[in-house]
Symmetry: C2
Subunit: 399 residues, 2 copies
């Protein structure tokens, strides 16, 4: 039997997926499991999207253009303009989810051995796509004590080598919920400019900003227009993760041409998904407002609840629908597994994502978990109660 | 401005796509362009698939499992059993089109520098995925004179090096329409066994076999069950290229585990596409028979027509819906471009795929084109007339 690839062996297992078998066993035992681990919103997909799907009257579901449907891209131009992101249809390439946009960015801009600097904790799959591209991720740790603020310029500069080719940020941030300030974004701009790097900016949580502070897109930064590759997705915005539609947006002509080669190799993004995503752009304001208000309430409820549990701490996330919280435990990986395999409270338990999977620096995030507030308040309340009980009896409790 | 990736510059432009701007210009001039260049069937998507899409009554279009929906995989087990391909649900991983199955096969089985032997001409995008994976494709030329039969064992063995890791075949073949015989498949099995290689077998045209000879799947070959990675897609079978659903099938436990890491990184295959593909498996026999009969008729009509044009020759393709034909021209790339930019006959012209894009050995296929019979007979007839006229006046005609 031939050997499989070394890069496959090097690929990290998803920090969430490894708990899935335990969760399944807990459910098989009849336990109610509160899922605080996933980034799958529980809110309804907009009716306009579902109606558009049902209204498709094509006889043949043909390949769409490799760069995506023109009508969809035209509507996206108007959508971005609302956020002061001024792009043309030529700048927008539709991808199969935001995931593909990340992957194509790496393939088109980086060669094997090239380095990307990423503030950590960071979305775990960036690492997987970097391995796919043979690129190396170097992380700058941000800390819960500083509320996951952007590390200082010096910390970035320490990592710069002749191989450094890009900086990658996620703003608003998954997993921390952090929203970069104008000052922080200017710092990123300065480094990008000084060392002539690409700036990969994952902005899929754009509409989930909960403070008065403005959302600063990488495209708002002056003087680096040709360095920016923006990653987007309709998944979270419209609660339609399953349709697999994202976008890669850049004004850099060479990057566009390069990305298009990968787009052509994989032929086209999903057709029905594009039709639904296009329709989603007509989602009434009130849907977006309802969603927004729902998350604002949940955020307050969850963060207050966590901080009320002895030994727990969560900074206030300013965007997205996650927070990284510190727990009074020896090892969050063990604790999360223990919750699913050895603990129950009134027939209930909970599943969280250990934060260690979002760090690459060994030892970091050991007592942190990522908690997503994608459950209704009542469920969140019960989950918090279960968490408090679990921490009371967990054998590895510290302090 | 930072440099883009070298691998992006190395990526071949699609052999078909580069003619697209010329075709668009021809259409803008008001010319009718017969598209013999694409693998997009013109036959209707099955009604059961379209109905399944319209009947989706979910409130939230969530991520589906990374390995694909279980109900779909269960039905595929039964589908494959009809072809004597005996696999379990665990052996089947749903992908975003056959393209992703090819790419994940490479990533999971090959490391940078590993070599894959492929009979040429071959589907051009294999090359793109190999470059993505850092793998090297080495081609064994098959020739139109021998009807694109599998090259001899010796020709394969000449290419074997310590880096050789896999053989890749497409059966029935795109672009040639060739169908490998039992004897040829046994030859492949013997090499795979002798050198302990992976066998990547792209069998997306399985249902388009037009001779009495049986279709031999790589899974029918004894003794190499753990070496086979089968690539499949519903695109061509059900004329639903736009839904982007394929599959990667293997009994090799290590490969499965490795592939699943990539599946998890990209989260999930398209949900609506999976629902439609699953429904498509219930397509009535008569639909498949109608499609089959249609292609059988077109094949005869097209091949007879080509061979009737002075100086042209096409072997009889035994499967798929393509043929590679030899034309009396100096350079098929030039001829195809010329047809679109300088020629017209009664307001019509045609677009074909120059075969050079399907070979990697320089100079091969220079006077060959790939012609797809995805047009109705009447249109095919007109296209053949246009082709004959074009060849009469083309300045680079030879003989």
């Amino acid at each position: 039997m031939p050997n499989i690839s070394q890069r496959g062996l090097d690929m990290p297992a998803s920090p969430i997926r490894k708990l899935v078998p335990l969760a399944n066993r807990a459910k098989a035992k009849g336990l109610k499991v509160y899922h605080l681990n996933i980034g799958q919103p529980d809110l309804p997909t907009p009716a306009v999207a579902l109606e558009a799907m049902r209204a498709v009257d094509r006889k043949i579901l043909e390949y769409s253009p490799s760069e995506g449907n023109l009508s969809f891209r035209e509507k996206l131009v108007k959508y971005y303009a609302k956020f002061n992101i001024n792009v043309t249809v030529e700048d927008i390439i539709i991808t199969t989810g935001g995931s593909e946009a990340v992957f194509f960015s790496f393939m088109a801009c980086l060669d094997p051995g090239d380095e990307i600097i990423v503030p950590e904790p960071a979305y775990a799959n960036y690492m997987a796509f970097a391995i796919s591209a043979g690129a190396v991720i170097k992380t700058v740790p941000s800390t819960i004590e500083e509320g996951f603020a952007l590390p200082s310029l010096e910390r970035f500069e320490e990592l710069i080598t002749p191989k450094t080719k890009a900086i990658l940020i996620c703003n608003p941030n998954n997993p921390t919920g952090y929203l970069y300030t104008q000052k922080e974004m200017n710092q990123i701009r300065d480094i990008v400019k000084k060392y002539d790097l690409f700036l990969f900016s994952d902005e899929v949580y754009r509409e989930f900003c909960y403070t008065g502070a403005p959302y600063i897109s990488a495209f708002h930064l002056e003087g680096i227009e040709n360095n920016v590759v923006l990653v987007d997705s309709v998944s979270k915005r419209y609660s339609e993760c399953g349709i697999r539609i994202g976008a890669l947006i850049t004004k850099n002509q060479q990057v566009k041409e390069n990305v298009m080669k990968w787009c052509q190799a994989r032929l086209s993004p999903p057709l029905i998904g594009q039709i639904m995503a296009e329709a989603s752009l007509d989602t009434p304001e009130e849907y977006m407002l309802d969603v927004y208000n729902e998350y604002v309430e949940r955020r307050k409820f969850l963060i207050d609840g966590i901080n009320r549990i002895p030994g727990c701490y969560s900074p206030i996330p300013m965007g997205a629908f996650y927070t990284v919280a510190k727990l009074p435990v020896d090892d969050a990986d063990k604790f999360c597994a223990w919750c699913l395999s050895e603990f129950e409270y009134n027939g209930q338990t909970l599943m969280m994502a250990p934060a260690s999977g979002f760090y690459t620096t060994p030892g970091l995030g050991k007592n942190e978990v990522r908690i997503a507030y994608v459950l209704q308040k009542e469920e969140l309340g019960k989950a918090l109660e279960v968490l408090a009980k679990a921490l009371e009896v967990y054998p590895g409790r510290v302090i």
